[in-house]
Subunit: 428 residues, 2 copies
Amino acid sequence: MSSANKGCVVVKSSLIDPDGGSLVDLVVKKSERDLKARDAESMPKVSLTRIDLEWVHVLSEGWASPLRGFMREDEYLQSLHFNCLRMKDGSLVNMSLPIVLAIDDEAKERIGASNDVALAGPDGDLVGILRSIEIYKHNKEERIARTWGTTAPGLPYVEEVITPAGNWLIGGDLEVLKHIKYNDGLDNYRLSPQQLRKEFDKRQADAVFAFQLRNPVHNGHALLMNDTRRRLLEMGYKNPILLLHPLGGFTKVDDVPLDVRMEQHSKVLEDGVLDPETTIVAIFPSPMHYAGPTEVQWHAKARINAGANFYIVGRDPAGMGHPTEKRDLYDPDHGKKVLSMAPGLEKLNILPFRVAAYDIVGKKMAFFDPSRAKDFLFISGTKMRTYARTGEDPPDGFMCPGGWEVLVKYYESLQTEEATQNAAVLSS
Amino acid sequence: MSSANKGCVVVKSSLIDPDGGSLVDLVVKKSERDLKARDAESMPKVSLTRIDLEWVHVLSEGWASPLRGFMREDEYLQSLHFNCLRMKDGSLVNMSLPIVLAIDDEAKERIGASNDVALAGPDGDLVGILRSIEIYKHNKEERIARTWGTTAPGLPYVEEVITPAGNWLIGGDLEVLKHIKYNDGLDNYRLSPQQLRKEFDKRQADAVFAFQLRNPVHNGHALLMNDTRRRLLEMGYKNPILLLHPLGGFTKVDDVPLDVRMEQHSKVLEDGVLDPETTIVAIFPSPMHYAGPTEVQWHAKARINAGANFYIVGRDPAGMGHPTEKRDLYDPDHGKKVLSMAPGLEKLNILPFRVAAYDIVGKKMAFFDPSRAKDFLFISGTKMRTYARTGEDPPDGFMCPGGWEVLVKYYESLQTEEATQNAAVLSS
């Protein structure tokens, strides 16, 4: 693959009406909460895992609008085969990931012919109700093959969520008793699509560009975001606002945890690499699938629901290494190609970007210049983590010092933890 | 699964303009043939397998219209991810199977920077030209997973075509020198979409209902087809014509071969089970994928291109047993569900059917009546083949005697062949 093909793109949308009229909100009114809770007492109970609850969070706030709950079979099949849903008026809405709730044989039997079920959180609390349910087969192999384009063992979401799940899926209309909170000190960053839209209005944004990430922000990312802003200003927008939107749900074990990333992102703003005046940092509550071209559609679609109208796509979005072969799981260019062609996202426009890399002459992250290719160093996420883990400094200008320090401290704490555990094992 | 869900459906379309104006025809004019052939002499050659040639046949006659040749990457990705292609005017056209041509590393190197390649048939003859080519990676695992929803070993098309194929795909605009012929005595049944449309016009059909099959016709199939005709007459159509349309390309080894099936179909018409006055028998040149809900879309779409406006869908269309597990590969109901929701096939209407089975009281194939379920016998394709192979007669009224005789003779000939081979092995 030529380096020229490695670039990023910004995707523009005018899909969602600016007043947010169509956004689904599945959290019941406070006045109805007690009544619903009493209602739920007589219903069969379905227990949610931590990740099921993340999906309840996603659904309840309208990120997956127009979905009104976990998918019934017709929605599931459309998502799996077409990556989109047909609405009653004939229009197509993008919906690339199956958002489903699995139950086992025992739960299915317990539910019997009930129309509605109560949903209990991982700690047993009543979370909500699923109404007018439909139970259908959970063909895990087909779901995995069609979502990831592989069934190789070792896909993080598959191992964590799908393999241990039951053989049935239960869909229905969701009612959530109250907004999902995590009490981890980060809830104030968890803005709903409705809240984000209000914030954009308050700041009088005339363009909102979203940046999805699950990694620390380095200066290459910052270059992309700042350059997008520059280009938007050139295009005539007066007040473009950046939505820096780290993913807050399930991630694989070797990714940097959310709390560390949030601290790192704060430093990036403190150090002035991104302008706090024109940036909103918020958490996207979705779990991560690592499903490349299929998942990037979900990442874009959810941000459009939150009011973003430009979406930045990098190389190999939502990708990872193949779990059993020595190669990328997805062609690094397929993400942006598939996104640009996805049904239900027709109104997206794409601004091509060259890829950013470390310029060893300029001593900074810069857009790759093929005429002096030998001056550029590509530093992958894996390479970055290796630097931080071994205590080796990355090249000057790769990341702001404050942000880098957060990462180094995190990896030091991991090593201390590991050493303590090893010592405990030795002494036991 | 309840028996009520096992039924067949007829799908109606008014998608294609009746004059066939939009149909692609990629066979060059006779007057240009010599010029094109001289042109091709200077081009790098790509060798086609027997099944590649079947796809050239399919493409050349417009079954896959609006495709103008083997898919380039943007068409391939849309087919793989969305089962449909977006046209320049924004409309979506269904295209559920990747129609692609694979080449190996050596061929790719030989082609180098050439814009066009010559296509040579399995016996070395020049077949056509692929113009303005694009070569891209053939990620077999991803293609298989997204097309079949499994990567289990033993999928017939995968083993025959994909596993031995090269690591590159080559797309481009196809020019075919002359109509593809097989010289097997059946070419007169191989009517192109254009020819079929003319035939429907000639017969003054006001409705055309297509029946896809790759198996002998038993009286359950006939019941379906005759009942469809009855219902179409009831709906007010004056002259509904049946397109009995056996698949003529690659099938798996234990399927009944095309020549035997064609003989069997002739007997069914001779015996009056189907009315020759209102039936056209023709061969559909496509190879078989056995890809269930993904493939049934292709089967319907190609027949719509040929002028059919009703399409009959049975239980588990294009399905087969899971290659490594003791179950159907696909949920038997998913085919008709997915077809009814497929983008690019929006104008299809569905008439639900009850499933046909052998009524041991009435001694005939009849629509299943759940109120006397114990009176019905389900005879699968496998069961039918076992009857014919072992020389056991199926229940009276299962198939017309003339048709059954064809099958019995075929299986007898197989056993003779096998015995001869065994004898040859023993004496060698």
